[in-house]
Symmetry: C2
Subunit: 137 residues, 2 copies
Amino acid sequence: MSKKSKSNLDDTRLRQLFESKNFAFLGSLMKDGSPHVTPTWVDIENGNILVNTAIGRIKHRNVSRDPRVALSIIDQNNQYEMVTLRGKVIEQITGDAAEKHIDKLSKKYIGADKFPRRSKGEQRVILKIKPEKIFLM
Amino acid sequence: MSKKSKSNLDDTRLRQLFESKNFAFLGSLMKDGSPHVTPTWVDIENGNILVNTAIGRIKHRNVSRDPRVALSIIDQNNQYEMVTLRGKVIEQITGDAAEKHIDKLSKKYIGADKFPRRSKGEQRVILKIKPEKIFLM
């Protein structure tokens, strides 16, 4: 399979993978160092990847302990268009920005202005991921 | 999101996720302990998950060093039907069985009797994954 290695997201084909409704699969590290993979909504902004989770969830706990992540996306309309990358969570953003951001993702993925699956008392957090190695296939 | 934790694949909904043409996203560990995620074809047999790669590829090198993996699948026809699991590579199978198995996966995913993307001289290997914790969402 031909691969193209890149270090930034400045590529039309690559941006389309992130901007469409494809789920991303986020890999992080459990406390014992074992891998964890979970599907997640995703967004890009200024060359970084944004994932939105709730404070205290597994992926939030994992990246708070060790910021190293991996992420992979395939195009739901052409499963052989794919990207896989490694990088780090360089910032966590909470508060109003994170609450608005989950609504933005909700709009993108399911067309709902307000994210309909908030649990009582949950606080959202944006995980800002800086990609380091990108492979487009 | 409601979750159901299981320790085996004996569940119709779960089996369907694996038996249809959905890609799986396999998480493994790089040499430095960082996570790696890659989309892959997948199969199940006797309660274990089978992934087929070529000897020497990143995921083969990773699981040969540390057998701990994670894996996640979403249904391409309903992205909110998903499973995520953690487990270990308990066996690697090479030789004729692995060559036949990649043809089986090729038939399943792209309808081709023979896997059309063999590189010259590559040797296939089946990674047999025993799931330990399964979350169906």
